[in-house]
Symmetry: C2
Subunit: 207 residues, 2 copies
């Protein structure tokens, strides 16, 4: 119980890294077959071949594993940089759509939000993960400002949140998949609002 490996201390390809990869892959496979609710540490142990006590020591709970999975998979989405604001928005929207249209990713998201309702620590982790992800892709809006495609003083986080919101509303509230029509209306809505200055904060500091 005292040998708890510090996070990220392992050499790539070392035993700790292999254990981590095996457990995250097992979680991803399980969530492709069944909902988050059905996921247990025992199932992860069986599928990954890693002992359940090792998993418990490192991640404590199923939520711990899945938060790490979300962070890893989510951050593989690239930030588009085509030199054109509307094209960047379209590519980002399509990437979010593809990600959430995969059943297992939707299971990850819904499971984490369920866990967040029961555990403030999970809630904070989920919130921070999204804030960080939004921050990354604000590049799209900041470059559009630099190119003069949208007004100065545009709040780049508001642009990205406006783009993401209809997609998550579809998945979380209407419990449906993100189709081409929604990608189109979301891009156009955000594009026009940004162009016309809806997200300009005049004389305000960015928080």
């Amino acid at each position: 119980m005292t040998e708890r490996p510090p996070h990220g201390s392992a050499r790539p390809g070392g035993r700790t890294a292999r254990t981590r990869a095996a457990v995250l892959a097992a979680a991803y496979e399980e969530l492709d077959r069944d909902s988050f609710a059905a996921l247990t540490l025992d199932r992860l142990a069986r599928r990954s071949g890693v002992h359940v006590s090792t998993i418990r020591r490192r991640w404590r709970t199923v939520e711990g594993v899945v938060v790490e999975l979300l962070a890893e998979r989510g951050s593989t989405l690239p930030t588009p940089d085509t030199g054109d604001f509307r094209r960047d928005l379209t590519q980002l929207t399509q990437a979010i759509a593809d990600f959430n249209n995969a059943l297992r990713n939707r299971n990850v998201l819904q499971g984490l939000l369920a866990a967040a309702a029961h555990d403030p620590r999970v809630e904070e982790i989920v919130r921070a993960a999204f804030v960080r992800r939004i921050e990354e892709v604000t590049l799209i809006a900041r470059q559009a400002v630099e190119r003069g495609e949208i007004p100065e003083d545009t709040d780049p986080r508001e642009v990205i949140a406006a783009l993401a919101a209809p997609l998550y509303y579809r998945v979380l509230i209407l419990r449906g998949s993100i189709d081409d029509r929604l990608v189109h209306t979301t891009v156009e809505t955000t594009y026009q609002a940004a162009r016309s200055g809806v997200f300009v904060r005049k004389g305000e500091r960015e928080g």
Copy 2:
């Protein structure tokens, strides 16, 4: 176990109606103090004075009680009808904001989505409740079409979903409250998109 009262069979003011009111009120009070996760049938029984077996017979689970609570409280939000599209959008957005900024309502929503991740029946009930609610307030968009404020063939459900999405994204993903700035940007974004025809479906039948 055989006397399960059919839904809505009681006279108003009768014993069944009083039981229902007491249990829903108890749930609402509990959710103002504590999260959905802490809510149990026993706590509902204690606070309402209704026997736990009666509650279980009528609603089966805590989720059953809370779904009925959501339907009741949610449908008390009026559909604005000011004769002006932008003003209608503003009033509706403010009403959704006020509703979700009350801690207990947020607890209801987050708890139900948590339950939905674990139980397909709850998922369907939540989905249906939102679809029904959207349908009700499409009146705003349909009247704007009639007045010529937004184009013919505008899909009224898309207008309402565009308005609601940023608000629920704030609550469910960013885990924050809905402030005046978000009300403003949401109304303007939706208003401009609707005016410029983003939600027009040409030559398509409404599903």
